[in-house]
C-alpha cells in the first residue's frame, strides 16, 4: 500500500517522511494507518469518510502505540500528508468533520449537499432544494457529481431517489 505513495515506512526509519515532514514516529505511524483505512474503504465511500467513523477503526488498527487517538491527532497527521500532494485533506462539512482521501475537487455546491446529508448520511433532491433554494438543474448536477465520483450510492426504492454517502453512515466502513 505504501508503495502507492512511494515510501516504505518499515525499512526507512529516517526516510522520505521524516526528512520531508519532520514528524516523529507517532504521527508517522498514524498517517500510514489513516492512509490504509481510507484506501481500504474507498470503494465503499468514494474517499470521503467522517472522522467519527475513522477514529474507532484507527484505534483498533494500531499496533505500536496504545495511546488514545484524538481527532486533533488525526488532523495533525493528515495535515502532514498534505505535503505529499496525495489529496488527503480534512474538511468541515456541517456538523461533520471529514477526511477526504481522493484528489477530487469539491466545490461549495458539493459541500452543501454533503452538509444536507448531515449525520444521517443521506439526502434527496427535494430536501436539498428546500435547504438551498437551488433550481432543479443545479440540484441534479450536484447529486449526479457525488454519484459519478463514487461518493454517493443511489437508493431507488424509496418514495424519491435517495443519495447515500456511505462514508457518513455508521458501520459502513467496517464492511471492508
Amino acid at each position: 500500500m505504501c508503495a502507492t505513495i512511494g515510501v516504505d515506512p518499515l525499512t526507512s526509519k529516517k526516510g522520505v517522511w521524516s526528512d520531508l515532514l519532520g514528524v516523529g514516529d507517532f504521527y508517522y505511524e498514524l498517517a500510514v494507518r489513516i492512509i490504509e483505512i481510507c484506501v481500504a474503504t474507498r470503494p465503499i465511500n468514494g474517499g470521503i469518510m467522517s472522522l467519527r467513523e475513522l477514529l474507532p477503526v484507527l484505534q483498533t488498527k494500531r499496533i505500536t502505540y496504545t495511546e488514545k487517538i484524538s481527532s486533533d491527532d488525526v488532523e495533525r497527521a493528515v495535515a502532514k500528508l498534505d505535503v505529499l500532494g496525495s489529496g488527503f485533506k480534512i474538511m468541515d462539512v456541517g456538523n461533520n468533520r471529514l477526511v477526504r482521501s481522493v484528489p477530487v475537487e469539491l466545490n461549495p455546491d458539493h459541500t452543501k449537499a454533503l452538509t444536507a446529508c448531515g449525520t444521517k448520511g443521506y439526502t434527496n433532491a427535494s430536501e436539498l432544494q428546500r435547504l438551498t433554494n437551488w433550481d432543479a438543474y443545479r440540484t441534479r448536477t450536484t447529486l449526479q457529481f457525488l454519484l459519478q465520483n463514487e461518493i454517493a450510492w443511489l437508493d431507488a426504492q424509496s418514495s424519491e431517489p435517495t443519495y447515500w454517502i456511505l462514508g457518513l453512515v455508521a458501520g459502513a466502513s467496517s464492511q471492508t
Binding site: P43, I44, G46, Y122, L147, Q148, E150, W153, L154, D155, A156, Q157, S158, T162, W164, L166, V169, G171, A172, S174, Q175
Partner: protein
C-alpha cells in the same frame, strides 16, 4: 444451525438498488457475491433456487423495507457465476453455488481415500456421499452435482477415473494410488 449474521452492507438501503455508476456497481457486485457465497456456506446450501432465495431474507431486509428485484437477483447471481463461484442450471431457475471450490472438495475426498487406503478400489459415488464409511466427513451428504464436479476436478489431475454407471448416483470412481 448457526445463525448467520448479515454484514452491515445488508442493512444499507442503496445495496438493494443496482448502482448506476460502474465503479460503484463493481464494488456492490463484489459485496453481494461474497454475501451469497457466505450465506450458502453457513446454511449449507448447494442449489440456490432463485424463487426460494428471492423470498428469503438473503435478498431482502424487512427492517429497512428493501428487497432486490428479480432482475437484480439474477444479475448478481450471474456475476457470481461469471467469477466462477457458481453455475447455472440449464433452465436458469437455480444456481449451484460453490462456497467451496469443487477442486477443494475433491482434495478432501482424495485425502479420505488416501488415509483409509482405498486407492485402487472401485467406489460408487453413492458410497462416497452417503456411505457409512464417510459419516462425519465434511463431504458426507454432499450434493450429487457438486460431488461429480469435485471428482471431475480430481480426474483432471489424474487422481481418479470416473466409471459410467446406469444412473448418476451409481457412477463409479477408481482412485489412483
Amino acid at each position: 444451525m448457526a445463525q448467520y449474521v448479515f454484514p452491515p452492507f445488508h442493512s444499507f438501503p442503496p445495496s438493494y438498488t443496482r448502482q448506476p455508476v460502474e465503479a460503484t456497481r463493481a464494488k456492490q457486485t463484489q459485496l453481494w457475491c461474497d454475501l451469497i457465497r457466505d450465506y450458502c456456506r453457513v446454511h449449507h446450501i448447494f442449489w440456490l433456487d432463485v424463487s426460494v432465495a428471492r423470498e428469503s431474507n438473503l435478498f431482502s431486509n424487512p427492517a429497512i423495507d428493501r428487497r432486490l428485484s428479480d432482475d437484480d437477483v439474477r444479475y448478481f447471481l450471474g456475476q457470481l457465476v461469471a467469477r466462477g463461484d457458481a453455475e447455472w442450471d440449464p433452465d436458469r431457475k437455480r444456481c449451484l453455488v460453490f462456497w467451496r471450490q469443487p477442486s477443494d472438495w475433491g482434495q478432501l475426498i482424495y485425502q479420505w481415500v488416501d488415509a483409509t487406503g482405498k486407492n485402487g478400489e472401485l467406489l460408487t459415488v453413492h458410497e462416497i456421499r452417503k456411505g457409512s464409511a464417510t459419516v462425519g466427513r465434511e463431504f458426507h451428504g454432499l450434493e450429487l452435482d457438486t460431488t461429480i464436479r469435485a471428482l471431475q476436478a480430481l480426474e483432471a489431475l489424474g487422481k481418479c477415473a470416473i466409471v459410467q454407471g446406469d444412473s448418476a448416483d451409481s457412477l463409479g470412481v477408481k482412485f489412483a494410488m
